[in-house]
Symmetry: D2
Subunit: 321 residues, 4 copies
């Protein structure tokens, strides 16, 4: 909020302002390598623009069958890529494995009748709150490189993943073969705006193309400084990591009480908890909000603003069940 | 060939010629209902244009996971529909079942985040040579109607299906709820050109739109009479059924010899046969051509020009194995 | 800013919040008719989504050759409509005339080879700061209705147009045949977010489709309440008109001094002024910012925050030239 | 016809047959340079696929405002390029001039708000039957190269142009900077099928991409040998030039009689002739067919099958007017 208020004065329009101009440097410092960084209003747009830069319309994107880009973006990747094909794969905890990817690639005949895979997209932390380690990402990065595929990471919860890993952001991205990263901000306390980052030798060309897509899709806002200011406020003094650490810590407190109700290990800020309909109703009656997750389960998400005190009531309620 | 030669004289261009003008009436007679009929050069284009008329870009098309539109058209449906989502389902013999479709529909949340299904596409005969009966199609037609979905039939081997069923073409199409049919011609002896047919009260509007897509995709040939003439020659004296009957009969002869090597019942003109690599090599050494079908299997296709005499050598070779 | 700060508390995500829920009613009251209203982050996106709802991919959109959608949106309408054709027309002051539109329509053959016009898009106030009167819009609305075309108004400066006209917003929109309006907010003091409004019997269907496009293009932000709150703050106590009146009044003060340097009458908040390179340099040396407009001219834009005092220095500088 | 009949026997499907395999070599010989050649069913598709290989969706294609791709293809280039922008220019006889192209390029700001030109498309012979000389093409080729644009030639009447020029096909194409050529066959006596040719160092990559588009747009026919056989029959013994010479000669005979009714010089096989409504009716009453060309004019097209004897009646009728 303070950052936004500070940006509330005239400057050059679109991304010609002082805040936007600092993004490349700020993210390059954070990632210890030259980075091309664009603010983009939503994760859906950032993911889709990344894929449009990595995959032609006649190509395919390998992703987990429960990935956000597959399930919850109303086909946005198909819109931005002009009809590229999502190639969903199963996998425990919404993680892709190198073997599954290799098998999928092997099944594609190299003729013009079949869609060739051109990119892999993974989500870190995953849709089930699991975190890919640098080693796991690197294993997928090797497959990608061996087959000439681009590697995209949907980092809507990237901060939570890095907070969990305790590694350098570089370790789990470009050092592990990631070409493009959606660096989440909104789920981590931001108002509007994520960052789309490109790494490596093709970063400049891809970012130039991404700027075209950003404009062409109506995402180049005339007062982009408000978005850039948020991103800078997040990363320039490690606010993004502090927020994520807080959310992760809150999740751990709840996880302890949830015990063997947990359907997945808790590594980031999401808990998937077995709850009967009655139990869910009991919790809701006490004022707790969460999403049902199919039958007999619920998804609990903690956030940056929570600490031991604020989650204590829910922890107690879980314990009482 | 004779039909093409007969069409080899000047007439109005595109679809303004005398042959094209007769298509609606000829197909209406064959299907016992007013039909809108367009010649379209390839099955890929006919299928994709049909889907573009049934499904918006933000919609989804339910199809079998081994359907030609899913596997072998390089994403053509995504191109013509501007990025609609294929929703592949498993099913024995490449057939969709009403239950599988209903389950898939139930899993889609009715919000803007998820792609809404808008059409179902089935292949008759299927990619494994099985034939949907009128009752089976009608059961899917009921699901489609109940959920406001369009129903498309890829009839690349429609003639073989009807020859097997011995029913009226109407019984397995519009009477069973089919809105659009790709009426195959090339696999049944034609040179270039299939027919795209629309049935029912929206036929006229959809055909008008299909004519736009045909032009816009470069499929409105200036000498379309050559395509129309082939289609008329096929249907005006039941050549299409005679050809299909011949191909089916030839397949039955082979099926008898293939015995329990068969992986699927033989209903149309395709046989999927278990063959070791040595057996396949043996057959090929004798001059027989066929596709490998993964490991340890082969796909044999008979055609309209074959009869007992011409398939006898292969039948004998199969018996010898 | 206050509105945004007020929205800075948790609520349902996307457009499920209390602010978004009030948009339809608030705009319906302002326009004296049932209105479907969506917040959309940028004018480019709002214009393009409007056109995607009015024009199929194989259709055309008649617009002025200097319209923003033609010149300055990197082909965004082509992206959202999947390749619809812009049909640019000349016209004094960036205004379309009914005669020019009729002539263009007459030149289109009604066959599948030519792109059929399906929509008209006008900008009010125009790119040269001129204002279409209700009568002028109605004349275009009549042409649109007679030919079955949708009518879209790009109202990036709609507030300035209404402030100039002194009419009801309804008079210059739906009463004059407008089907969809981009209601500008950012150029009138907002931070991020315009409104896309649909009028008339098809409003509900078009808005439903627009919601799909908004999601699919990555414009359905998870914290949409910040946009909705801005729009409500603008219209619920006539702030939008007060801002526009201020900007228009400031422009009039400058217009008086610009005298016969003016290239167009000043009706809204833009002045197009003949300036030699030396004169432009002189003004810039005094700290005034503006866009060059080709050779020997400049574009000056006043805004909501200006009054007699704040523009006095520039007025004086113009007088001194 | 003979070529088609000769192709009427089984071979590998799609473009795996013996005829298709010879295309590259045959066209390479004709053009005295390594050429990548694809058969494509229609000129609309060949033009559009060429442009899709030369221009990204966010780019623009400079073309004459009366070019076939602008006027008569129902927006097909927009479909295949996913919404690239056609940039129409005026020009005498439907010819582009280097100056006009340079002026257009100069008017484009190099920012993301404006669509960058990425290709030039010219038609030879033009829509008014005029022929670009090698020098004229080379002048445009120089502009293209200087600005990093691809150069496409729509050669629906390429044979007529070359017949008129008497030059090597190479002189007016790749030696003059042309990257992609639609080599017309149908207007020159073929049944279905044109050739799309790529020249130069990027030919291989562009052709690979074009093969994807051909499949994805439903233009990879399963019996492609019929198209390849026609193309080979056309070029392997100079039939294409003999046909074009015949058509051009017939046009000259008519041109002599048309005298100062001619609106454009007659260089290929089209005549644009001033005719009153009565004169047109008189000719039609005598059995002659032609297109009206706006008010008071007609377009006469001669073809490969005509000679002095067959055009004599029309020549006489023109003389009598």
């Amino acid at each position: 909020m303070a950052a936004i208020a500070a940006a509330d004065r005239a400057d050059h329009g679109y991304d010609g302002d002082a805040w936007s101009a600092r993004l490349d440097d700020a993210f390059s410092a954070l990632f210890e390598t030259p980075v091309q960084a664009l603010w983009i209003a939503s994760g859906t747009a950032a993911n889709s623009i990344a894929l449009a830069c990595l995959c032609p319309a006649y190509g395919g994107v390998i992703a987990h069958e429960e990935a956000h880009i597959v399930v919850d973006e109303c086909g946005a990747p198909g819109f931005f890529t002009h009809g590229a094909t999502l190639m969903p794969l199963p996998g425990v905890g919404a993680k892709l494995t190198p073997d599954a990817v290799r098998d999928r690639l092997k099944a594609i005949r190299p003729d013009v009748h079949q869609v060739p895979a051109r990119a892999i997209s993974i989500t870190n932390a995953t849709e089930y709150g699991l975190v890919y380690t640098p080693q796991e990402v690197a294993a997928l990065g090797d497959v990608a490189k061996a087959h000439g595929l681009g590697l995209h990471m949907d980092g809507a919860r990237f901060a939570n993943a890095v907070a969990h890993l305790g590694c350098a952001p570089a370790d789990v991205t470009w050092r592990a073969g990631v070409d493009a990263l959606t660096f989440g901000c909104v789920k981590n306390g931001g108002m509007i705006g994520e960052a789309l980052l490109f790494f490596g030798p093709q970063a400049r060309d891809r970012a130039a193309e991404a700027r075209r897509w950003r404009k062409r899709s109506g995402h180049l806002f005339s007062k982009g400084r408000y978005l850039a200011a948020q991103l800078l406020a997040m990363i320039e003094d490690d606010l993004w990591l502090r927020n994520a650490n807080a959310a992760n810590a809150a999740a751990q407190i709840l996880a302890k009480e949830a015990g063997n109700r947990l359907m997945h290990p808790v590594e980031a800020n999401e808990l998937f908890v077995r709850l009967t309909a009655e139990e869910a109703a009991t919790l809701r009656a006490q004022g707790f909000g969460f999403h049902d997750w199919g039958h007999g389960a619920a998804r609990l998400v903690t956030n940056w603003s929570q600490d031991e005190a604020t989650v204590a009531p829910l922890a107690a309620a879980l314990a009482r069940l």
